[in-house]
């Protein structure tokens, strides 16, 4: 039973030698505008093969948007995204998978959700059955296989979403705040699945607001602020000795309201 193990938090990440240091996914000069507002402005990112990269920053910084662009769900107005030096195409996207903040599960059983994803990838018969069994075991959902996916708890639903994505054997897994609103046990379960996948060589790109999670999972960090990369580097450097003001404010637990904005304390002094 995996459930007992899920009560243990994931171990803090230790520096390790990556399989290969070359970038798996690169984006240069990404610009995305909507309703006349520039939501991403000249974003450059590089995701190393086999790494665990965290995308951090406040609400509205453009983290989820960046993930959708990198996954090819939406197209940037400017800039280019390359996958191992090649343009990002629909075929390339088959080598990626994504888990959304609110798991999108079909109105079917747990088993049927897994079966559907694998069928889309062209798997049939015994190979598909084996992968389904493995996924159910990894998520600790064997006993709930025939239950409608939407009656599972929030943590179980997110575990299902993660193993469904991993069952498709992606080279890169995007996770958009997968543990938001989950309790510590469910968070630990998700982190365990992520770490196990990464140990098998799956590159991880994960959006999080959780500093503790960043320390546990992060190897590289991209810190976004107002649609631009405020800072990027190793997790150790960005989380412990941040150089940019937004990341320093995050580290210190201060409210960062932008370079031209008064702090709350200043605002209070002026008002009262």
């Amino acid at each position: 039973m995996r459930d007992a193990g899920f009560d243990m938090p994931a171990a803090p990440s230790a520096p390790r030698q990556l399989l290969t240091p070359e970038p798996l996914l690169e984006a240069r000069g990404l610009v995305f505008e909507a309703s006349g507002q520039r939501l991403l402005n000249g974003v450059d990112v590089s995701i190393r093969k086999g790494s665990r990269t965290l995308v951090m920053g406040p609400n509205g910084a453009g983290k989820s948007l960046l993930l959708r662009l990198l996954h090819g769900l939406i197209q940037p107005q400017q800039g280019m995204i390359s996958w191992q030096g090649q343009p990002l195409t629909k075929q390339v996207r088959q080598a990626q998978a994504m888990v959304f903040q609110r798991p999108v599960l079909l109105r079917r059983s747990v088993l049927a959700n897994l079966k559907f994803a694998l069928s889309v990838r062209g798997l049939r018969g015994s190979e598909r059955a084996r992968k389904i069994d493995d996924a159910l075991a990894a998520a600790g959902l064997d006993h709930l296989a025939k239950r409608p996916a939407r009656v599972l708890s929030g943590g179980e639903q997110q575990r299902l979403a993660v193993v469904r994505a991993l069952a498709c054997d992606p080279d890169l897994l995007f996770l958009d705040e997968p543990t938001a609103n989950l309790d510590p046990a469910s968070t630990a379960a998700i982190e365990t699945l992520v770490l196990e996948a990464n140990a098998r060589g799956v590159t991880i790109v994960l959006v999080t607001h959780d500093t503790g999670q960043a320390h546990r999972l992060g190897e590289d960090v991209i810190f976004l602020q107002d649609g631009v990369v405020a800072e990027t580097g190793s997790a150790h450097q960005v989380l412990n000795t941040p150089q940019s003001e937004p990341a320093r404010a995050w580290h210190d637990g201060r409210l960062y309201l932008g370079p031209n904005t008064r702090t709350l304390a200043e605002t209070s002094r002026r008002t009262f």
């Binding site: 959708r68 996954h71 996207r93 994504m98 959304f100 999108v104 109105r107 889309v120 990838r121 409608p148």
Partner: protein, 235 residues
């Protein structure tokens, strides 16, 4: 008032006596309506789903047309089908006029836009929820359409029910293309109209009671099915 109760009593007597004429009319009504709804669903469900999911030139116009055709006047449909199937019409040689097939065609034309328009709305809403996940998984166009239809199946039962309700209560079009011929094309609604005009209120009322009972039973069954699905959190 006594007259009303005696007519109502006579109507129930006919129903409970399982009058052969009454059964024949009910049977034909059900055959025509269910066949028409079946074919309307066969066309309307995928059509509505396709309009709800895919983006193509003229999509907005098609959506407006489908919504507008929900209010298609049955007598106009009856007239058009009559002209098409009459001896001088393009489908005259098929000799379908004044047959149950003509009535099925007319009802199908009336019901298909209803099914398609309501399906479009249901599937479009569901697609909004699934779209990114489907794109992420790389789901193809046909798989996407079939998956959305399958996952919306309980909501689509209500859509089919709306089509059934419209078809079973329809009188204008089937009267024109069916002719209300005894033992051939006489259905419940046309019989009610005819028998009322003849003063045979017992049979008319008996058919009215049966019509209401059928509508009530079908609605109750569909609602029960949907409720059980909601309990199972599929919907």
């Amino acid at each position: 008032m006594d007259g009303f109760w005696s007519v109502l009593g006579g109507a129930f007597a006919l129903v409970f006596a399982l009058d052969p004429d009454l059964l024949e009319i009910i049977g034909l009504s059900m055959r025509v309506t269910l066949t028409a709804v079946f074919f309307a669903c066969l066309i309307g469900l995928p059509l509505g789903a396709a309009v709800g999911v895919f983006r193509f030139p003229g999509r907005t116009l098609l959506t407006v047309a489908l919504n507008a055709l929900m209010g298609l006047p049955p007598v106009v449909v009856g007239l058009v089908v009559y002209l098409m199937l009459s001896a001088s019409g393009p489908f005259g040689p098929l000799r379908l006029l004044y047959t149950p097939s003509a009535m099925i065609i007319a009802q199908m034309i009336i019901v298909t836009p209803i099914v398609a328009a309501l399906t479009r709305q249901v599937v479009e809403d569901l697609n909004r929820e699934y779209a990114e996940q489907f794109a992420s998984l790389g789901v193809g166009a046909l798989d996407r359409l079939l998956s959305l239809l399958w996952d919306a199946r309980y909501s689509l039962l209500t859509v089919a029910l709306a089509g059934f309700g419209r078809a079973v209560a329809e009188v204008g079009a089937v009267l024109i293309v069916g002719g209300n011929i005894n033992h051939v094309t006489r259905v419940m609604t046309t019989t009610i109209a005819l028998e009322t005009s003849k003063g045979n209120l017992q049979l008319a009322l008996a058919l009215g009671v049966v019509l209401l009972a059928i509508a009530f039973t079908v609605t109750a069954c569909v609602m029960a099915l949907k409720a059980s699905a909601v309990r199972a959190a599929y919907a």
